[in-house]
């Protein structure tokens, strides 16, 4: 007969043996501290450029980069959910490409309240910059200027009708680009701005919107598409109407498959920024903030113009 004392010892031994056996399976690993990067969407050339830059900066500083994004550029709920997860996972800092600035202010304020530094990319910061939030974005005035000067060059002294495509209230950079472009057009009386067309982040809708402008203004000479989606939609609309050689299309952002479209001749030129540099700068600023330094003032990255002549870079 086994005594209760022996049973107790057997049980304790069994528990100890079990614990020692399963410990390697359940022991928490040692992880580097984490920073989070949530762009508007991922899996695109624009986002992957930023990803590689940020990843490099994080690794060099001994941090782990958590990278994820909505699968659709307009999925603000998913972006909020990812921001909440980042907070729950004790992220040390956040780089964010806001899908819809006003909808994200509450979530952003939670980071700021906890003194977690935030760097906004892709568009202007939806909350005022300060000690815990800043932005690293393209110089939107320079983007519009490069596009405008190229359009004036293509149209020559004869001028002609131009239109802007892709204004999206949820993407403030599109409004800024359009506004600055209009200012440059006003300084050239031979060029007439005939339309400023709204759009969304869906290529199909962008194509439909571009089509409406093309159909309404048959003498249109040039289009300035202020986002990658608007550019992709305009390419399709122009192609369907056989207007490739009649309308000059200048697009924005090194995204989707727009480089290929330049090579194929369906896109005249593209105003881009160095996305890898943006990622590197954003993560670098964030890491400085995590290290106790003040975040830098909002910083603008200079764009450049890619043209079909072998991607020649123009100043």
């Amino acid at each position: 007969m086994i005594s209760s004392r022996s049973l107790l010892i057997l049980f304790a031994g069994a528990i100890s043996g079990f614990a020692v056996a399963v410990f390697p399976q359940v022991a928490p690993g040692t992880h580097a501290p984490q920073i989070t990067f949530i762009p508007r969407t991922s899996g695109t050339s624009l986002s992957e450029g930023m990803h590689s830059g940020a990843d490099k900066a994080a690794r060099e500083a001994g941090f782990r980069l958590y990278w994820n994004a909505p699968t659709h550029e307009d999925d603000v709920d998913r972006q909020i959910s990812l921001m909440r997860s980042a907070l729950a996972n004790n992220t040390k800092g956040l780089v964010l490409g806001p899908t819809n600035g006003p909808a994200l202010t509450a979530a952003l304020n939670k980071f700021i309240a906890r003194h977690i530094p935030v760097v906004i990319v892709q568009t202007e910061t939806p909350v005022p910059s300060g000690r815990y939030i800043t932005s690293i974005t393209p110089d939107q005035d320079a983007v519009a200027k490069l596009a405008a000067l190229h359009v004036f060059d293509v149209l020559g002294s004869g001028g002609g009708q131009v239109a802007v495509l892709g204004l999206d209230r949820t993407a403030p950079e599109t409004l800024l680009r359009s506004r600055y472009f209009l200012q440059y057009v006003r300084s050239h009386p031979e060029v007439q701005m005939v339309a400023q067309q709204k759009s969304t982040s869906l290529v199909q809708e962008a194509e439909q919107n571009a089509g409406e402008v093309l159909d309404s203004f048959p003498h249109l000479k040039a289009l300035f598409a202020v986002s990658a989606t608007a550019t992709a939609g305009a390419i399709q609309a122009i192609r369907r109407r056989g207007l490739n050689h009649a309308v000059t299309l200048v697009g924005c952002d090194d995204d989707l498959f727009l480089r290929r479209d330049i090579v194929e001749g369906s896109l005249d030129s593209l105003v881009v920024t160095d996305n890898q540099r943006v990622g590197l700068l954003a993560a670098g600023a964030l890491l400085d903030g995590i290290g106790g330094h003040d975040l830098p003032q909002p910083f603008h990255v200079e764009p450049r113009l890619l043209t079909r002549e072998g991607f020649q870079v123009q100043p």
Partner: protein, 244 residues
Amino acid sequence: MSHPQLEVENARLVDDRLTTNRTEGSFVQLAKDILLFGVAAAVCFGLTRVTIAILHSPDRGLPYSDRFANSESAEWSAYGGNWKVEDGSVVNESNERGAKLVAGSPYWTDYVIEADVALRSSGDAGIIARVSDAEQGVDAYSGIYVGLRTRDQVLVVGAADHNWAEYAARPFSSPILPNTWYKIRVRLEGCKVDAIVNREDSTEMGKATATVDSCPLQGRIGLRSYDSGGMWKHIRVTKLAASR
């Protein structure tokens, strides 16, 4: 020596002996307890390790196949997409970029995965292997992807680790048609990936071989589509040695 003194001395000797016996008895009991504890710990440790080894075996659950009989797909986990089982195939009705459906053991290592795949529109659709750390998101998983891509009409082989690295893009001999079944077979041995795509009549349409840097060495299987819904059926995974 007087009698009283002798009695006292005898009593002391008896006490000493009793104390010694008690101490010896305690040591013996302690030794028995330690032995009992050790045996119980060793047996339980051994049993647990054997159980873990069985559960983590790369052979466990292989060969695996799913013909989606009785419209069941309970063992699959969805990460994005809009999935349903229909007529013996699984369908993603959404064109969400990077939608995934994952099943199988996280401990499978070298294996062959085969499936019939059809795209519902233009985009990508295919299979993923050695999947771990999956989340909703375009490249939000660690694993290897082999698929049909309509944009440039290629058989694409790439690896994701919450990013994307493309290792092969082989043009097909004929265009990829939507709603048409293609048979994909992927063989994974170490970091070498061999992929072949045949038409339904078994004629070869394209193949690709790639060696993936820092490849994931184990993981589950899955179905993935990008910008296109997709349909999958006759999913089969076999241990590499058995499939040779």
